[in-house]
Symmetry: C2
Subunit: 338 residues, 2 copies
């Protein structure tokens, strides 16, 4: 049984290329005491990885020759820890490999009853918790708020909108294709989708938010953030969560003029999901219930086999994915508990 791994082969500026990654096969490591040998079922690809490749992300750099990082849902094949048994399903930051050895104290038991296993990396995982923490803890959401979210068809954005919708808010999503916009409105129940690639963002925002933006949940930064800051309503709340627009650059481009914050008496807050781990039990219970009742929907962009991870990651960084980027590592359907 080999362990297939994907390493960072070179570090370039700009949008990553498939050639930046290298697939290697090696013998599977043996687990030592306190460790678990696992098979990776689903691997999550997330935009923050681009920041790790640049060495700029708070969770640490990925250097040339390193295993690509990322969270995965794994099944324990062999346990050298009394905390887990063979067959257990765990989540761990075990990276882009098929058969990782994971320290038991770095693994998190997951409940496969919560929903399909792949959703433990999306709507029921880190992106879902990000949206949940932002909307329930930081946004000060009120029923008549007009909420705008960027990267609206992604796992964070679609969850932000659906939580706000359940609260009774008006939801405007910003996304990069007609298909994504259609999905946010027809499937996820947004009131309006704005295609920033074909529409004039400022004009469309004005029409969609005639009384201004009460809550803006920002996943992208750049000009989208600028345009939203210009149209904040009095007392607006802005949650800064992601900066996709600048992940592929080596600069730190400037941001919006502070006058927009003063004029709107806005409150702008930075959100990093790691700070909100305490919310996870409540979040899992709540979102799992919504999911089982068919009250929220999600979208996945899934490939089968680790060899396709680089291509999907590159698509993700070009904004060409549609939904949560997931690698089904074993190529088998684990939607139900195996």
């Amino acid at each position: 049984m080999n362990n297939t791994r994907v390493l960072l082969k070179r570090r370039t500026g700009g949008i990553p290329q498939e050639q930046d990654f290298e697939l290697v096969d090696a013998a599977t490591d043996r687990p030592a005491a306190g460790e678990l040998l696992c098979e990776t079922l689903y691997l999550s690809l997330d935009p923050y990885l681009r920041g790790r490749i640049s060495g700029r992300h708070i969770s640490g750099a990925i250097n040339v020759g390193d295993l690509m990082g990322g969270e995965a849902v794994n099944r324990v094949i062999e346990s050298k820890s009394d905390r887990f048994r063979q067959g257990d399903i765990i989540a761990a930051h075990s990276g882009w490999q098929s058969h990782p050895v994971v320290r038991a104290d770095a693994a998190r038991q997951v409940n496969p009853e919560l929903g399909p296993l792949s959703t433990l990396l999306g709507i029921l995982g880190m992106p879902g918790l990000t949206a949940y923490a932002g909307m329930t803890r930081l946004a000060g959401l009120k029923a008549d708020d007009t909420v705008v979210v960027s990267a609206a068809s992604g796992p964070v954005g679609s969850m932000v909108g659906q939580i706000a919708r359940r609260k009774g808010c008006r939801i405007v999503g910003i996304a990069g294709s007609a298909e994504k916009c259609r999905w946010t409105v027809e499937q996820a129940g947004f009131d309006r989708g704005i295609n920033y690639k074909t529409e004039t963002l400022r004009d469309s925002l004005k029409r969609a938010c005639p009384d201004g933006i009460d809550v803006y949940f920002d996943n992208v930064g750049g000009d989208t953030l600028q345009a939203c800051m210009e149209q904040l309503a009095f007392g607006a709340r802005v949650i800064l969560c992601g900066l996709i627009a600048q992940y592929n650059t080596n600069e730190m481009p400037p941001g919006p003029n502070p006058a927009f914050i003063i004029k709107a008496r806005a409150t702008v807050r930075g959100l990093v999901v790691y700070d909100h781990e305490d919310l996870r039990p409540e979040f899992e219970q709540q979102v799992s219930r919504w999911l089982k009742q068919g009250e929220i929907c999600y979208r996945e962009d899934c490939v089968e086999g680790l060899e396709h991870a680089p291509a999907l990651f590159c698509r993700l960084m070009r904004g060409e994915n549609f939904g949560k980027a997931i690698v089904n590592v074993q190529g088998t359907d684990f939607k139900s508990v195996p």
Copy 2:
């Protein structure tokens, strides 16, 4: 009895010049029913007026030919309202004129027992209330916070620091001359004054705030804001209050990259004093007591006679004033109740 008035003569870009203003004499208006004829005792000059000249301030534009605006402490000479009597001291936005006629419902009775009359425009007036609202309502101030404030020797900045000092915080002031820095430390009790004109701001901030900045109260924007955002501590609070650095430009220059807010999990809020009028009674009582007990100090940059208002305003906009810019309009000492 003539009414001497100062009008805006021309609108130029950049820092205002004395020639932009015109002194004119006219007969004093007669008060109609509900109005008060006053003599202006002290006139406040404030940086926000520059924004009104540009037509960009929320309190409305001052156009060429208009009376220059601004708040003043006035004495009622003749009252056509039952709300005020001759001899009453009022505050009103009556502008740069010696004998205004003011609508009684736009005048605010002031208590001349609170402190010297000129301070009702400074430490006991709008700038003081600005600092008080920011520090007591928005800053979430804790005793071990490191607080940084720009324009530190001005009426807002010096009050921000002194309120924080009373709470037990470490205070670092940023100002534009050695004399101003010395005053903030020796008189106002700041722990450190940074002269941004002669020191390397980022290095000095690092030395003064080795654990980062917990609270930054920003009166200036521009590069000072940028430098402070780069050094925020985890959970920092930033209060955006003034943008002196951009008042003299016609552009909206960009601001700091949002990544600094995310990294620090900072909360950034816009402060406009008009929203906090409800705090005024508490504020006046508190600050008056501190003032009488000699626990806080203030500094005024005072000229005598309206004809000197343009020069003082231009100095203010060049950052060459030192303390609250005040015009003693009648040229007599009204520090005690006349």
